[in-house]
Amino acid sequence: MANMTLLGAVNDAMATEMRNDDRVVVFGEDVGKKGGVFGATVGLQDEFGTDRCFDTPLSECGIIGTGIGMAVYGMRPVAEIQFLDFIYPAFDQIVSEAAKMRYRSGGEYTCPMVIRSPYGGGIRGGHYHSQSSEAYFCHTPGLKVVIPSTPADAKGLLIASIRDEDPVMFLEPKRIYRTVKGEVPEGEHVVPLSKGRVVREGTDCTVVAYGAMVHICEQAAEQAAKQGRNLEIVDPRTLVPLDEDIILSSVKKTGRCVVVYEAPKTCGYGAEIAALIAEQVIEYLEGPVVRVAGFDTPFPYALENLYMPDVRRILEGVQRTFTW
């Protein structure tokens, strides 16, 4: 075990897989000598050389398009998009190409690539360095969508993503890159995709959260506990394909659910969780399923702290599952 930041664990996962498998290549803007704007790829070019870790021209479309070509040809590309906010020039390549390669070729061609990208708010980054656009990708059949919330999960899930036979969007909550530390197994460590994690057991209300929000929910749960309310926090870790059982069995136990996410509320991932619960376990519910999310505005700069779900908004959401 080693004590690491989430960022360090992401780095460790890539280094581990690059040692294991020479088909793995890492590329993107500033990932070489600089080691990435956040430092996620530090040391990789030194260790593996410029054929396996390299800077690209400033073109997300080019990064993903060439990545798909490499994957189709038999490599294991890990492409970094510097911020998720800058991924849109590559949207066509991701949703029309990477996501559909297997299906449209009847399985003849596949696209086992990982697209890593820091996402989410809380770093004073304004519109274009803060957005949470996971829902666009969750809505695209053929893509898997993974979001870690701890260093150990970051490593295990990234290794699983690199080994996966399908394209994976691996979204990294940049707000907690350096603030969250934890024990991470050294060397080989795989956390299977599509398996959620109960972060904290409780009996009174289920809180579903992923990424940086898991930690805010833990703070909320501490506070709720002082008031005699036990929240159960469930982190799905893989948004698509979802571990439905872990959520449904928790809601069956507690009878209540709040979904917390940073993205704009409308048509966000929380809507999917709410619909799932309504479809499958409505008879267990003792109150409405509540979404605590970003507002339906572009991500604001100066008022960021009011935009992001915080402890008091989460607790207020929990309260609404009791009194309605």
């Binding site: 400033l58 080019g62 980054g125 509320k265």
Partner: protein, 368 residues
């Protein structure tokens, strides 16, 4: 086609024969003063960031001639689709200092209402369209605005800026292609400062120059010494004239150097040589221009000192006012999503207002 770089200012303020654009004394002084002010603005901006008073800053250090010289031939009625590294343009065109500084703080008084990170100005009063972070997006937009002016038979000229990195964007291709097809009145300024964060310009293209790309699209591509304000001015005056006369777009590559780090979040010493910096420092655009002006007896040290002091005083006063202005009120978050807020937005605003909360509570620092 040539990879030659047009230079006018030579050593010790001498000019190449027959190439001086012969600007009036007032005009020359205005250009110099604007470049000096832009540098002071940048120094203050970075200092405020280092002091933790604003969240981010990004300088144009070393690129003052490139953007001030190119913008100067534009008329007040002409339009800009800028990138984030042209602070001298608002100064040249007389934007209010308070608006600029309030934007840094995201405080009331910022025309864009604290919605964007520092240096992403929106200044409609000077036809300076809202700056976006995603690289290159403004390039095709400028082409489109120019197409519109042409359709409406108006003689407005459009100028857009992007870096060496920006030439790799999808919008570089789309923008130059459309502009050339429709002969749109737009001037594309590629400020080739040799770096896109840590990636050298040689990693952006296999072409020998950026300017030569223009030729393939069907427009002139001109390389100019970006640290030579007279050369930049001259080339851009010609490009603006061509556009206004209906002769179509031009791309200008200003060959310059980013003398600072990419931004307050970057440390250039981690990926580039000090030696390269030292070489470019010899070609500091302000020093070169000052030598020229001194030669023509248009510059004295006292004049510059006075101008600097006056601007610093104005800036300090503006910073004081901006810092005290405070953040936009909480409900303003829901304005300007649409012309009229939707029912959902109104409900969300009511919900947030009922919870209250401190708008000035900080939750973090921009770490990059």
């Amino acid at each position: 086609m040539t990879s030659e770089v047009l230079t006018i200012l030579e050593k010790d303020g001498k000019v190449q024969k027959g190439k001086d654009p012969n600007l009036s004394d007032d005009r020359l002084r205005l250009l110099f003063a604007t470049m000096v002010k832009a540098r002071i603005l940048d120094e203050r901006g970075l200092t405020l960031q280092r002091q933790g008073r604003i969240g981010f800053y990004l300088q144009a250090l070393g690129q003052e001639a490139s953007h001030v010289g190119s913008a100067a031939p534009m008329l007040d009625s002409d339009w800009f689709f800028p990138a984030y590294r042209q602070p001298g343009i608002p100064l040249l065109r007389g934007a209010e200092l308070d608006q600029i500084v309030c934007e840094w703080f995201g405080h009331q008084g910022d025309p864009s209402k604290g919605r964007q990170m520092p240096v992403h100005y929106s200044l409609r009063s000077i036809n300076f369209v809202s700056i976006s972070s995603p690289i290159g997006t403004q390039i095709s937009q400028a082409a489109g605005a120019a197409m519109a002016a042409k359709i409406r038979k108006e003689d407005t000229v459009f100028m857009t800026y992007f870096g060496d990195g920006g030439t790799s964007s999808n919008d570089f291709h789309a923008g130059l292609n459309f502009a050339a097809v429709y002969k749109a009145p737009v001037v594309f300024i590629c400020e080739n400062n040799q770096w896109a964060i840590s990636v050298p310009a040689s990693r952006q293209t296999g072409s020998e120059t950026m300017a030569q790309k223009a030729v393939a699209y069907g427009m002139p591509g001109i390389r100019v010494d970006g640290n030579d304000v007279l050369a930049v001015y001259r080339v851009c005056q010609e490009a603006v004239d061509r556009a206004r006369k209906g002769e179509g777009p031009t791309m200008v590559e200003t060959v310059t150097y980013r003398m600072g780090s990419h931004s307050s979040s970057d440390d250039a010493s981690r990926y580039r040589d000090e030696e390269e910096y030292e070489r470019w420092k010899q070609r500091d655009p302000i020093v070169r221009f000052q030598e020229y002006l001194a030669r023509r007896k248009l510059w004295t040290a006292e004049w510059q000192a006075e101008l600097e002091q006056e601007f610093k005083d104005q800036l300090n006063a503006a910073i004081k006012r901006a810092e005290a202005a405070g953040k936009p009120e909480l409900g303003s978050m829901f304005d300007d999503v649409y012309l009229k807020p939707s029912a959902q937005l109104l409900a969300q605003r009511t919900q947030l207002q009922s919870l209250g909360g401190a708008a000035d509570e900080e939750i973090g620092e921009f770490p990059l």
